[in-house]
């Protein structure tokens, strides 16, 4: 019983879920996607040559055998060789993941910083035109497709004003030796601006509206009345008492969003030609690059699971009313 047991239980659940996802991924790609060698036929490979390629990638073995090799490789941290690039999957994946996070984390950070603050403001100004404008604006941004907002930004800032770059993450040609070299430049920030704005605006609506709704709920509770009776200032009640309690659902949402961020905003990556993981996933599916596709989706699934668990655990610290319980009693 108690915290430790609860955490252990969650971790076991996590492992089981992850194993199921691994299995589904393996069979899903093999059953749904065409044979990876099919793409090579257009370049005039004969049947015999294709057989060689199949053997090289281990595709000539029975599916069940392939599955066990896949599990073994996963346990030993072996991500395999990409069929398309014909080189190790892991370094490619890591590079793309870094690029994706370099876009997604700033965007999520900004939207989860500003969103809840705006939410507080909206609930405070309940019934006013500000609230109305805020809700409409939030819903609008939430429902506007990101490729559309992205293209509008490209048109305005890239083509009409010509002040911001519209593609990639740095000006070419360039030389960068490591990942941090890549992002410690003003040039990177200039490239980051438009795609980040697109994503941040899209993500902004959710924490803002969740915050507002929860705030309104909490404002109706008895202890707020008590605070007012104590003569606390309105500002103090709002930020110190209501907002703090209303943050909980926002935290869960933030954790899930960060988990999903690994896959990137595929559409935004395409519109802004951002060299991230989302683009890589599309390409991997298109070329039936099983090892690449599996590893990318595996990573995304793993992160969503972990972030969810973290959010659950975090709850108990943020809200003492939530007690972690280990089991049956």
């Amino acid at each position: 019983m108690g915290k430790g047991q609860y955490i252990a239980k969650r971790i076991i659940q996590l492992i089981i879920t992850f194993f199921i996802i691994l299995t589904i991924l393996f069979f899903l790609f093999r059953l749904a996607l065409p044979d990876p060698t099919a793409a090579l036929v257009m370049d005039g490979l004969s049947a015999e040559e294709q057989a060689l390629v199949r053997a090289r990638f281990g595709l000539d073995r029975p599916l069940v055998e392939q599955y066990f090799i896949y599990l073994r490789n996963f346990l030993t941290g072996e991500f395999g060789i990409s069929f398309h690039y014909k080189s190790a999957v892991f370094p490619i994946l890591m590079e793309k993941l870094f690029n994706t996070l370099a876009l997604m984390l700033p965007a999520i950070f900004i939207s989860y910083l500003i969103g809840p603050l705006l939410g507080v403001l909206l609930s405070w100004k309940r019934g006013s035109n500000t609230e109305f404008a805020g809700i409409v604006g939030g819903l609008f941004l939430r429902s506007a497709p990101v490729f559309w907002t992205g293209m509008i930004f490209i048109m305005i800032f890239g083509i009409w004003l010509g002040i911001l770059p519209t593609s990639g993450m740095r000006t070419l040609p360039y030389t960068a030796t490591g990942n941090f070299d890549k992002i410690m430049t003003l040039d990177y920030l200039r490239h980051l601006f438009l795609p980040m704005l697109t994503i941040a605006l899209y993500y902004l609506g959710l924490p803002m509206l969740i915050m507002r709704n929860t705030m309104l709920e909490i404002m109706g509770e008895d202890f707020i009345e008590l605070c007012q009776a104590k003569g606390l200032s309105e500002r103090r009640i709002m930020y110190k008492h209501v907002a703090r309690n209303a943050l909980l659902p926002v935290v869960t949402q933030a954790a899930i969003t960060i988990g999903l961020a690994v896959g990137g905003q595929v559409v935004v990556e395409v519109v802004f030609s951002w060299p991230g993981l989302g683009r890589e996933m599309i390409q991997a599916v298109r070329t039936s690059d099983f090892p690449m596709a599996q590893s990318a989706f595996m990573m995304m699934a793993g992160l969503v699971l972990i972030m969810n668990t973290v959010a659950d655990l975090l709850y108990s610290y943020l809200d003492p009313r939530v007690v972690l319980k280990g089991g049956n009693k």
């Binding site: 996607l33 065409p34 044979d35 060698t37 099919a38 793409a39 090579l40 036929v41 257009m42 370049d43 005039g44 490979l45 004969s46 049947a47 040559e49 294709q50 060689l52 390629v53 090289r56 398309h84 690039y85 014909k86 080189s87 190790a88 490619i92 590079e95 793309k96 293209m151 490209i154 890239g158 083509i159 010509g162 770059p165 519209t166 593609s167 990639g168 993450m169 740095r170 070419l172 040609p173 360039y174 030389t175 990556e269 395409v270 519109v271 802004f272 030609s273 951002w274 060299p275 683009r279 890589e280 298109r286 070329t287 039936s288």
Partner: protein, 533 residues
């Protein structure tokens, strides 16, 4: 009760027997497999246009838009199709007729081969052998022309259209582009032809396509090779008019049926400063054979051995006379530096950072970052360095063609490596700084019949169908005028090998009906086409 039921039963059986009798003669519903609308809206629409026209002939057709790699799988690997709409891209080594003619050779009709329709014609096969062994170009041409007549007459496939390659470049910054059939302006002549007009001497090319890798013994995509051929040199270079020019070779001469003598150019160096010698040339060809690189196998297969005669002379000894050896093999296989490759035992196992990128070509490899950027710089030491006016070629890699087009407009790039989308062509024409270039292609889009399935096994049926294909509608409506109607498998733009005298089948539904009728086909009361009795 029984007696009452009997007549009904009798009538029911009669109806059943009759309908089976009738439907057995009916031409069954046929299936056309084509690409999805997303992959290629033109092939997709073309299938529906053909469906409409065949309906006019009383032939029921269903269209199956199929995801591209599944289509390729069904078409080539499993030959599981009735009628398929597919295409061959025009690659420079396919200007030699060998490859396209081979797609109708009976030897390639096995599963996975290039002749999935299963066409067999003895005379055609015989001519295919003859032309592939004939060094005399004029004689070879005669064989090639006759093969085209046979294919056109027997219609194992119908060539629907040739699509123009429409690309654009920034005419304020660069000039001198020489378009090449099938390659448009992103071809091997860029270093020698393109001249900067302003201060910017780096030509920036925008592309969505990316090499699979840059290992000359592992890359199996056109985009890998289009990049690598810029920094590797070859013995022969094909001129923009597809004439084989001795390049790293001083001279190339067939001294008898099976032997080609090569004299190597003097004073060439690899980018690391080592001299290019006959040893390197021999090594390159031996190495490709030894490593058994499948993608190039058709190129080096006829080669028996390479003999070093003296310091700058080599003899290429062939197993049998091979007409395409000079035009294709010598112009495609790169010269590799022996000192960097000889110790590599399995070249396809190299990890990307270990792949040597040293060639002896007009440009020098500088950088490649996957998904972002590639860069080549001028080889100051090249024997034709005086002819090279640009300092570098940069490649920006975009996620989609929209990104490439935006970059053209914002002048981030100077030219496109691949065709513009139809909607972008009109927009590009309105931009003052852009020049739009339209180049005919020799790759073709075709409708291939599975000749193992009736009625496609009937030559008369196929001839009639050739009259039911709306060739002009494809060009005027689907391609916006940017293309040419399908003729022979060797396209008109490939002027030397194309047979301009093959009689074409015109779009004429009445004629199609007449031909079907003459062959004994007939229409039932419902207007459906029936097999000859």
């Amino acid at each position: 009760m029984r007696r009452k039921l009997l007549p009904y039963l009798f009538v029911a059986i009669l109806v059943l027997v009759l309908s089976v009798g009738v439907s057995a003669q009916r031409v069954p519903e046929l299936n056309i497999m084509t690409t999805t609308e997303g992959y290629d809206p033109i092939r997709y629409e073309a299938a529906f246009l053909i469906q409409d026209n065949l309906a006019e002939l009383g032939i029921e057709v269903t269209v199956s838009p199929t995801e591209f790699s599944t289509l390729i799988q069904n078409f080539y690997n499993e030959q599981d199709f009735e009628i398929a709409i597919a295409g061959w891209s025009g690659r420079v080594d396919r200007l030699d007729p060998q490859h396209f003619l081979g797609t109708l050779e009976s030897g390639q009709s096995d599963l996975g081969g290039n002749n999935p329709g299963g066409y067999v014609n003895e005379r055609y096969d015989e001519l295919f052998q003859l032309q592939s062994q004939e060094f005399d170009q004029d004689l070879r041409r005669e064989y090639v022309l006759e093969m085209q007549s046979i294919a056109m007459d027997e219609q194992p496939l119908n060539i629907l259209f040739f699509r123009d390659e429409v690309v654009a470049y920034n005419k304020d910054n660069f000039t001198g582009f020489v378009p090449m059939a099938g390659e448009a302006i992103y071809n091997e002549w860029i270093p020698f032809d393109v001249e900067p007009l302003g201060a910017d001497r780096s030509l920036t090319i925008g592309t969505t396509q990316e090499p699979d890798n840059i290992n000359p013994l592992d890359s199996t995509t056109v985009w890998g090779w289009k990049f690598m051929r810029m920094y590797y040199d070859k013995l022969i270079r094909l001129s923009p008019d597809i004439e084989p020019l001795p390049w790293a070779a001083e001279s190339v001469e067939a001294i008898d049926d099976n032997t080609i003598e090569i004299v190597l150019r003097d004073g060439m160096n690899f980018h690391d400063g080592e001299a290019v010698t006959v040893e390197d040339v021999k090594f390159s060809y031996d190495y490709y054979q030894e490593q058994d690189f499948a993608y190039f196998r058709p190129f080096y297969q006829p080669l028996e051995e390479v003999i070093i005669v003296d310091d700058n002379t080599l003899h290429f000894v062939l197993e049998e006379p091979t007409s395409f050896f000079i035009t294709v093999t010598l112009s495609q296989i790169p010269i590799l530096p022996k000192h960097l490759w000889e110790d590599i035992e399995a070249a396809d196992q190299l990890s990307p950072e270990d792949v040597p990128t040293v060639g002896s070509g007009p440009l020098v490899f500088d950088q490649y970052d996957r998904g972002e950027y590639k860069r080549l710089v001028k080889n100051e030491d090249y024997f034709m360095a005086d002819e090279i006016d640009i300092d570098a070629v940069d490649f920006n890699i975009y996620a989609d063609s929209e990104g490439v087009y935006t970059a053209l407009v914002t002048e981030e790039i100077d030219m496109t490596a691949w065709r513009l989308e139809p909607a972008q062509i009109n927009l590009a024409e309105q931009e003052d700084h852009l020049e739009v270039v339209s180049v005919p292609d020799f790759g073709y889009y075709h409708m291939t019949y599975n000749l193992r399935v009736p009625p496609m096994d009937d030559i008369e049926f196929r001839r009639a169908l050739a009259h039911a294909v709306p060739y002009d509608t494809f060009i005027n409506v689907l391609l916006d005028g940017l293309g040419e109607r399908g003729t022979s498998i060797i396209a008109p733009v490939n002027a030397f090998w194309h047979n301009p005298d093959v009689p074409l089948y015109d779009y004429d539904l009445d004629l199609a009906r007449e031909r079907l009728e003459a062959a004994g086909y007939w229409w039932d009361d419902e207007g459906r086409l029936n097999f000859p009795q």
